[in-house]
Structures are given as structure tokens and as C-alpha cells.
Symmetry: C2
Subunit: 222 residues, 2 copies
């Protein structure tokens, strides 16, 4: 147990910011020990790290971060649905975050092209996955901006994405979950936490590596 | 030549927004034809599409978009330096955009780890590439959040990024540029425009594909 000052020191988050997160419903309030003293424990420290990952690293809005954390705190969340819901929430799924405006509706012909791509790669995807509409929107944007030939790269992109995703899933799925034995609650929360954090941090690493590889390739070729 | 109403209709950008872009220095003002009439041409239409790509699709700030466009408009910009500068500007390089706060300084040991990774893959990168510091920051974040084992995936990530980057460079580099013959001004501007737009749109497509591949892989394995 620790007081808010120690929680602030250990987490490197200012006291005022900790109070803000409690007010916004991102961090459970501490236990009231005496009249003027609230105490926090290791779970608060861990949750603070996760909040910072979502808000500072992942650039999620407070509202989206609140939705993602609510999934973790829902006792009915199972490993598989939890990971799916959290992933959808990260993408700003409107059902999960009423404050996020829904993405511009993707045209049916763009969605059909996405579905063709998914089928070519043997990917089974629920139609509500927000990344499906995001991809359709990106494809429509490329076409509108005279980069329709960029769409020819997407099979190469999909192969690269599959390599990356297999590594990602291996990182966050525990062997118990794969064997179908029900993971313990802490393992489940940890799995979802790891998935959330790695989806964000790994996504940033991948974007940075793409830019670096572009410079390396352009330098070699020009 | 067209009046602002036609430019608005053809670009699907409201008149007030067009005026805002002119005021903010993103769009050159039209030619004053008569006392109360300003006329625009195809170059304005094309620039408007690019602005929307940067601001709406790329989520760049007005200040960053202005810097990126200034590179295009600088007659001393060559194909190679222009593409590099534009790429750096997209990453929010502080020298190019004084309004973007510099990213938290990456620790020397993280940068050293990035440089090891680059060396293992034979990538030649200028030390000022902002993606180098971004990758170091992502690695430090993963470690701070208990995901140090995620860093073991980065060689797999780098291979995937190289596949993607080779496709990217092939898309935007014209054969003339590769042969070393000086490309014409329009080809240069077009190349940089294509690179900018595809870096943004392709990056969104790659991020969406990674999320889709994660669901497909998790469904298969769980």
C-alpha cells in the first residue's frame, strides 16, 4: 500500500494527472484508509502504466481509453472475445466508443475488393472488424488521389502483414489458451493488456521500420 | 480557369475551407481576373486533393502540411532530397516543423540497439532520420511496459518492412530517376506527391491489414 505521492514517484505520473485519471474513470480510486488518506497498491501502478501506454504512446482519446479499460474490467470478458473487443476498440469502433465519429462509410465496391483480398489470403474475418472498412477507405482514397496502381501492392502488403501478425499472436497468446484450457483471470487480463500494448507499440515500430526501409531502399536504388 | 464555386464542386471541398487553406498558406491564391472575381486552374484542384490527403487522411497538422507543401514548392528541391525531406516532414521532424514538439529524446542505449538492427539488415540510414529515434522510443516503451520479449520480433518486422518498402519505392520512383537522368519538373513534383500520399495511405492500409491478419491468425489458433 502506498500514498498518492509514492504512486506518483514510482509511476512517474504527476499527482494531478493521477487524480484526473481517477475522475475520468480510467483508474479505480484508492482505498480510503483514514479521513484524509487514500492508499493505492500495485494494481494501480500497473493500471497507470497501461493508461500511459494507451494515451501517450497509442494517442487514444480519454474516451477510447476508458472503453478499452472497461473491457478489461468486465468479468464476463473471455480471452478470445476480450482480445477481439479490445482490438476493435483500439480501431475506434463506434459501437464501443460513442464519442468516436464512425469512419466515412466505405463504398460497397471497395468492401467487395477488400473481401476478395481477404479470400485470396484465406483470412477469416468478421464483417464488423473496423479494419475492414478502414482498408476499404484507404483503397478508395488511393484511387481518388490517382494512386490506383498502389492497390496492386496490397497482396505484397498482406503477405508482410501476415508474417507480422503471426509473430504478434505468438507473443500474446499463452500456451494454455492455445490448448483450450481456461486461463486464470490474471493470465487473461495480462494477455489482453499485452495484446493492447503490443498492438500499439508494435504498430509504431512497424511504421518506423517501413520509413527506415524506404530510405535504405531509395539510397540503394538512386 | 474556374471560379471558386466550381473549384469547390469539383474538389468536393467547401468554399469556406478553400479560403481557409489559402489564408493558411497551403493553397496558392487564385488569379485576380476582375475586381470581384478570382479564378483557379487545374493546379489548384490537384493541390486541394493533396491537402486533403495530408490533412484528412494523414491527420497532419496544418503547420506540418504547410512544411511538406513548401518542400514541393521549393525550386531547389531535387528528387532525392525532396523525397527524403518530405518523408522526414511527415514524421514531424522538428527542424522542418517548429510547431511539432521534438519526440522525447531516445536513450543512447536504445539508439545503439536500433543501429545494431539496421546493421543486421544492411540498411544505410542517415542518423537524423526521425524514424530512427521513433523506433528507439517504441523499443524503450515496450521494455518499460514489460514487453521486452516483443523486441525479439523486430527482426521479423524488419524483413516485412523491407518487402513493403521495396514495393513502395518501385511505385514512386520513375525509371528516369533510376537511370540518373534528371526528371522533368512535373515528374519530380509528381514523384514527391505520390511518395507523400502513398506513404500515408499505404501506411494506413498496412496497419489495417495487420489488424485483419491478427484476427485471422487468432481465429485459426484459438
Amino acid at each position: 500500500m502506498m500514498r498518492i505521492g509514492e504512486l506518483s514517484n514510482r509511476s512517474n505520473v504527476p499527482v494531478a494527472t493521477i487524480k484526473f485519471y481517477v475522475r475520468e474513470g480510467l483508474l479505480p480510486s484508492g482505498q480510503r484508509a483514514k479521513a484524509n488518506q487514500v492508499s493505492y497498491d500495485e494494481s494501480h501502478l500497473r493500471r497507470l502504466r497501461l493508461i500511459r501506454a494507451l494515451v501517450d504512446v497509442g494517442k487514444l482519446s480519454i474516451a477510447t481509453a476508458r472503453r478499452v479499460l472497461a473491457i478489461l474490467d468486465d468479468p464476463s470478458t473471455s480471452a478470445f472475445t476480450g482480445m477481439g473487443k479490445a482490438q476493435y476498440a483500439l480501431s475506434g469502433h463506434p459501437d464501443l466508443d460513442p464519442d468516436t465519429p464512425p469512419p466515412p462509410a466505405a463504398a460497397p465496391e471497395d468492401l467487395a475488393e477488400v473481401d476478395d483480398l481477404l479470400a485470396r489470403h484465406g483470412w477469416s474475418i468478421r464483417p464488423g472488424n473496423p479494419a475492414r472498412a478502414q482498408l476499404a477507405t484507404a483503397m478508395a482514397t488511393a484511387r481518388a488521389l490517382g494512386l490506383a496502381d498502389g492497390l496492386e501492392l496490397l497482396d505484397t502488403y498482406a503477405d508482410a502483414a501476415q508474417t507480422v501478425a503471426e509473430a504478434d499472436v505468438g507473443l500474446v497468446v499463452s500456451p494454455q489458451a492455445e490448448q483450450g484450457t481456461s486461463p486464470e483471470a490474471t493470465t487473461l487480463e495480462e494477455s489482453i493488456e499485452r495484446m493492447l500494448v503490443w498492438t500499439v507499440v508494435g504498430g509504431q515500430a512497424l511504421a518506423a521500420l517501413r520509413l527506415l526501409a524506404q530510405e535504405a531502399t531509395a539510397t540503394k536504388r538512386l
